[in-house]
Amino acid sequence: MKTGAGWSRVARMTGQALLTLASIVVLVFLLVRLIPGDPVKVILGVEYTPEKAEALRAQLNLDKSIPEQFGTYIAGLFRGDLGESTSQRGRSVVEVIFEALPTTMSVVVTGILIGVIVGISLGLYAAISKRKGVDLAIRTWGMLSFSVPTFLVALLLIFVFALNFGWLPAGGWPNTWPENLPYLILPGIALSAHLSTTIARTVRQGAIDVMGQQYMEAAAARGLPAKTLNLRHILPNSILPVLTLVGISFGTLLTGAIIVEAVFGIPGLGAEMTRAVGRRDYPVVQGIALVTGFTVVLSSYVVEIAYTLVDPRARTL
């Protein structure tokens, strides 16, 4: 088995991931520096006095030249220091972010779990079932699910399950585990709506492709029963792409999570971001952009490595 070639692929992907990370760092830096007008004025608002402005400017390193600012920025990154929040005095950006991160991650993970399970089941069922209308019904559900914005799904879920039936809470967030669980269900479902659609579509197409493959026909001709065909041959071959899909969708999932948090009132990264945007808290905005960008690159990278391990064909490329 030529695993040597597999390692060169890993090396290549690592290089690319690092390059992308570097570009994100630069992009985020440039982003914030693009602000028209004087940021200090905006932050201080009514409290503006020349002395305070000087002090704030110095604090934010805005009095130094751009290359110097970039240098400080990079140096700070390596130290793990992302600066201080300007709206929440006394708290470092790192503090703000990493307090909110686990909350958002739990929403994302719930969404992924539900999305993957529902998506794979529906996708396979749509492909395999011989009953008329099943395929069309699932595809239409898919299109519908895609057309309804996530926040609307969230609102609908609240309307039906929380307000009408009262089964699940309509929002909020107790900070302790495991009380969190019921509060994760509706947000998780809302978040999974788009993901499960994409997964179902891919799995369905994958299963259809597999079923048309020659080895399926050859296996059927050998007398292998349908159940064996489905479980041992169609399933493994069609869920391979799901792995890559989840990795690619991580960015979209974070986006969706933020919206879901906004609707359900969950204090995650989304809430922090919205607050920071409203208060022009540039360090926090910058910090969140950086951390989320990194997470997304990292997740695609991890998924690609995992794919190399799982698919025997990928190992020789």
């Binding site: 020659q214 059927a220 001709a221 050998r222 007398g223 041992r232 041959h233 071959n237």
Partner: protein, 540 residues
Amino acid sequence: MTTSTTPLLTVEGLNVHLGGRDVLHDVGFTIAKGDSLALVGESGSGKTVTARVVTGLIDRINGKVTGGSVKFDGQELVNAGPGTWTALRGKRIALVPQASLSSLDPVMRIGKQLAETIAVLDPGADTGARALELLDQVQMPRPEQILRAFPHELSGGMRQRVMIALALAGRPELVVADEPTTALDVTVQAGILKLLGDLRKETGMTLLMIAHDLAVVKMVSENVAVMRAGRLIEAGPTKTVLTVPVHAYTQALLAARPETSTPGSPLSILDRETGELRSPTATERVATEGKRIVQLDNVSVTYRHAAAPAVAPMSLDIHEGASIGIVGESGSGKTTLGRVIVGALAPSTGEVLVHGKTWKQIRGRNPLRRDVQMIFQDPYGSLTPWRTPRHAVAEVLRRWTDISAPDALDRAGQLLEEVGLPTGVFDKYPAKLSGGQCQRVGIARALASEPRLIVADEPTSSLDISAQAQILNLLMSLRASHGLSLVIVSHDLSVIRHMTDEALVMRHGVIVEHGASTKLFSDPDHEYTRQLVDATPTLA
């Protein structure tokens, strides 16, 4: 048909409906136990559909048997229930599918796939031991290693042996082999065909073989039935049908094999209107001077990260009016060499000189670019899907001459007529054309530059047999009328022998022999050439 032994498979009046049309009309044949029958035909003849009916796979592709009967050992197969098929599939009737990478589950090891089948067909058997036994039966080297391998790690020939092993797992009485050696190299094919012959002697199994190549049939089956457009048009013992065919279509299939005609003469083709075989007259040869057009000087090609060169250092001169063949199996480097000659690929060492200039020096509008053109193997793949034939050819004309747009379209039409393309398709998109028609467009496009040399890379391999003869005739006549030089790259020895004056035999990038075509194939010097000649199925 032999009547001394009991018939195992009897097909009578079979009619099948598929994809909105009737694809089989009143097909009937019988195979006696232990005997063999080959179903021969081009694409669309219905031979594969017949195989699917016999193996019970017709439902999978939404086909329907609308009439007739198929009896296996007295049991009716048409519209038989799942229970019947469970008892038959693999255990009494087995399928060996076409050779391809996707005939095995790509993510499951060979051993596991064998074990799975053995467990279903031979419950209670020791799967490990039986798997080894089967691999042994198909003459597979190093069976223990094979068990642990994945399908993409095996060569095409080895995969086919695995498919045969899988088919034998249930000890079937009837084996249906659907084009088992198409897409395999000639030497590998010879091995598989020999294996099938050995297995028949060993196990007494009955063989129904689907093929498109009459020469292959001659090697493997005692009886043959020719199919065309869903009908069986001729059947009988192979020896008889191949030597004294009755139907014009069968005669045409035989005539399409170049080895049945004198080298260099036009091949007989079936006339569409009269249904008779017609021998076109040879075109008058235009005189040429014999100047040197292309020179390859110590050229070699090594791909990045490759251990060995795809083409080992070689030199070659191509003169006006020459006709050169490049023969080899897959991986021999013949396609690479073809592309280097045309300037589509840069050599790693050495130079390719066209009238004294290298391809690197020939840029932009240098008219030397016109002199060497190419025809590609995949007729559909070589045409831009969103350009009509007329526009594709006119484009080239406008590039090289000062002709106006409307005049270019007219002239393009003339060229397309010259290569025999029906007027009705001049302005249709390639998807609507047949393979043979697309190939003609490719030829017209190549001619539009008024080249001195055309490199044809497997010009007929992707075409049906009837189209093959026509394209070969076209190439010969164009060469004569335009005074062209031809370089033909092919794996098919009979095509090379027929079309070329001199030939190079390549193996793993190395030219092992280079000489006059007639001598090469009747009295080869090199061991490998001899192997190739021996392994090639021939009707001669």
